[in-house]
């Protein structure tokens, strides 16, 4: 197996991008990544594209070919493959690209993610996202994602000392970071009051506990580590790539307040990288809802089970804390174009490791982690990246 490096990254701004269609989004992100790697398109050997549901969001399937075509690579006949794992599509696309390079099958590989979500009404997007759960056992009987995560939050708050204010602090912290990220959908800071006074979505989760509907695309380019300096002075090494799965339904889990797939993927990643949570300088976790960030930082080992609320309220996950979490603003403030999120997490960590994160830069950042979840935790991808 060869070592793999990220040699270029690109990301569109995230938001309700009324004037950009699906194609414009991924072409923009891809062009930015190529420019970053100072690479021309014909050097690309393969592409993996994370996308959850273009079929339902824009009634377009066959995304792999579409993207290769609109990237101007149709006549190069390179393999271009769509990867789908609900909201973890981006994380899995990155992992496929890493595997392709590590195996020696390909050299220069694009991992991209794209989602155009605002062309359908909110009800339709909520229903499309429900496809990430079990349609027969959850969706058909009325469960939506806010509802499922509300069950996790209710169970968690029943068993562990998490206050409503501590939960709100997750969103407050992520908005603070988003306000320092030029690509973030929401650029304004909020207070705990903002969260507590916002509209109830699914008790106990309010509007500001929920990540938004977002348009956006991100792309990264990976290459064999020993060739990386042909393209960049600051190659970022992929130290670990891990993936795990779990029951697709929430009710079949051993414990609904612990995402066992996160635990498994996290342990595997640390083992592969020969590192522990103490070595991580910052982590991008999958905060589709505020409670998801609480569970994630515990399940990845950054604090003990039941302590994430206090840990967050004490500022340990803030930019200046012990382990800065979601420096990009996370899904909550940066936005959540589902298929693109996993790639955007890599984009953020690479920016941090290259010391290019501006006002949200973590001092002396050497090792970062990404955590991307599909559904309520049926798929999890964890990556560890390092500056070498």
């Amino acid at each position: 197996m060869r070592d793999v490096a990220v040699i270029g990254v690109g990301c569109t701004t995230f938001g309700e991008k009324w004037s950009s269609g699906f194609r414009e989004l991924f072409v923009e992100a891809g062009a930015l990544a190529l420019e970053d790697a100072q690479l021309s398109g014909e050097k690309i050997d393969a592409m993996y594209i994370g996308n959850m549901s273009a079929g339902r969001f824009i009634e377009q399937e066959h995304i792999g070919a579409l993207i290769a075509d609109y990237a101007g690579l149709a006549t190069h006949h390179i393999p271009s493959t769509r990867v789908e794992a609900a909201c973890a599509s981006g994380g899995l696309a990155f992992r496929q690209a890493v595997i392709a390079v590590a195996s020696g099958m390909e050299d220069i590989v694009v991992a991209a993610g794209v989602e155009k979500m605002t062309d359908v009404e909110p009800g339709a997007s909520t229903d499309t996202l429900t496809g990430a759960a079990d349609r027969e056992w959850e969706g058909f009987v009325g469960a939506t994602f806010p509802g499922l995560y509300a069950m996790i939050a209710t169970d968690y708050m029943h068993r562990y000392p998490l206050t409503r204010e501590q939960l709100a602090q997750v969103a407050v912290k992520n908005h603070y970071n988003g306000a320092r990220n030029p690509i973030a959908q929401y650029q304004q800071e909020i207070t705990i009051e903002t969260v507590l006074k916002s509209t109830m979505v699914a008790e106990p989760l309010r509007l500001f506990d929920c990540s938004p509907i977002t348009d956006g695309a991100a792309a990264v380019i990976v290459a064999p580590f020993d060739r990386a300096r042909e393209f960049t002075d600051t190659p970022i090494k992929v130290l670990a790539s891990a993936q795990a799965s779990d029951t697709i339904t929430l009710h079949d889990r051993r414990d609904i307040s612990t995402l066992d797939a996160t635990v498994a993927a996290g342990k595997k990643a640390f083992k592969l990288a020969k590192l522990t949570h103490k070595d991580i300088d910052m982590v991008e976790v999958h905060d589709c809802f505020s409670i998801a960030e609480i569970c994630a930082i515990e399940d990845l080992g950054f604090c003990r089970k039941g302590e994430a609320g206090k840990f967050t309220a004490d500022g340990e996950t803030a930019l200046s804390g012990k382990i800065p979490v979601n420096t990009s603003g996370g899904l909550k403030a940066c936005g959540h174009p589902v298929g693109a999120t996993g790639i955007k997490q890599v984009y953020e960590i690479v920016q941090q490791l290259r010391n290019e994160a501006g006002k949200r830069q973590i001092d002396n950042a050497k090792i970062g982690m990404t955590h991307n979840v599909g559904g309520t935790g049926a798929t999890v991808a964890v990556h560890i990246l390092g500056r070498v």
């Binding site: 309700e16 009324w18 004037s19 605002t118 009404e121 909110p122 509209t199």
Partner: protein
């Protein structure tokens, strides 16, 4: 010079408060009112529709100025809620005010800007001397589906403007439009309620078109916001016109007289025409009024208007018909049940 000869407004007396609607749907009234800047809206009586409102507004216009209805050569009624899909509201109005039969008539639909489109049509016919007077009306019993965001604002009302050449109370110096094919809000044939693209109705809809038409008018006339005493914008809620006015460089004082939506609601085709009427209600000779409508689908019509001495001479009697302020006074509040009856939301056995 073409201008407004007289004008009239009609607003039904019934109101429902936002909190009464919010109570039914388990929504937070303070959040809704805070977000929209709307607190109550007008509701038609059981026997009122876009046609009766148009007739009342036209009659109020003619009460203010003695002209021979037979000199009205055109009647255009803009509405999203014409009572008939086929059979013009404009004919009913023409008949009711005694303008028939030597006149042309048609119904207009351009979401919330059909009333200002009617004004532009009348201006053209008057300018080309095809007619002496043209009557342009925007009138709606606005539709909003139960529990939809529109239900909190969709109101009833209308305004009529008689357009002519001789001795206008306000001269229309210039008008221009900005139009694109933008699907931000629509209602298909046979559907009871409009659908909309949520926040897509904002930036790509309202703001793009209102700012587009306004900038075009400034460019074509060489004028700027400081050249106007007052400004009137389409007002689906209070926030949009306040924001667009600020973006364009108008002050809150300039838009205050024409911003009637907080206690009236959104009267769709009647909205910017009623805003203009409310401004004319308090205007003095020499005052200048900027108007920009917006209709989803989408387009905006902008107007450069200057009030003349005729608004205070004896031929035009502003007090002969009720002003907007008076029409908004002494409302009768309905609970949601009576509101549902008034709006025909309860399905009756035939």
């Amino acid at each position: 010079m073409v201008g407004i000869i007289t004008y009239g407004v009609y607003i039904p007396r019934y109101r429902i408060k936002v909190e009464e609607i919010a109570k039914v749907w388990g929504a937070n009234a303070a959040d809704i009112s805070g977000g929209l800047g709307v607190f109550e809206k007008s509701v038609p009586d059981l026997d009122e529709d876009a046609a009766t409102i148009a007739v009342e507004a036209a009659r109020n216009a003619l009460l203010r100025r003695k002209i021979d209805p037979k000199d009205i050569g055109a009647v255009y009624v803009g509405s999203e809620s014409h009572p008939y899909a086929v059979k013009p509201t404009a004919c009913t109005v023409g008949e009711a005010i005694g303008a028939t039969p030597n006149m042309t008539a048609a119904d207009y639909e351009f979401a919330c800007k059909a009333g200002t489109a009617a004004i532009q049509t009348c201006m053209g016919l008057v300018k080309s001397e095809m007619i002496t007077y043209g009557l342009a009306i925007g009138s709606d019993v606005s539709q909003g589906a139960p529990s939809d965001a529109l239900e909190y604002t969709a109101a009833a009302g209308g305004a009529a403007f008689l357009i002519g050449r001789d001795d206008p109370i306000a001269t229309i110096h210039h008008t221009c439009s900005f139009t694109t094919d933008t699907p931000d809000f629509w209602r298909r044939e046979g559907e009871d309620y409009p659908r909309h693209g949520g926040r897509f109705t904002g930036e790509p809809g309202y703001f793009k078109h209102v700012e587009g038409a306004s900038s075009l008018l400034f460019r074509q006339t060489g004028k700027s916001p400081k050249d106007f005493t007052y400004a009137v914008f389409h007002q689906p809620n209070a926030k949009f016109p306040q924001k667009v006015a600020k973006n364009l460089g108008f002050t809150s004082e300039q838009i205050a007289p024409g911003l009637v939506v907080p206690t009236l609601g959104n009267t769709y085709s009647g909205a910017s025409p009623i805003g203009l009427a409310a401004t004319l209600d308090i205007a003095k000779p020499g005052d200048t009024i900027f108007v920009c409508s917006f209709g989803s689908g989408a387009g905006s019509d902008a107007f450069d208007i200057e009030v003349t001495d005729a608004i205070i001479d004896g031929k035009f009697q502003r007090d002969a018909a009720p002003g907007v302020e008076q029409l908004l006074k002494n409302p009768i509040y309905l609970d949601y049940a009576r509101y549902a009856v008034h709006k025909g939301k309860i399905v009756m056995q035939l």
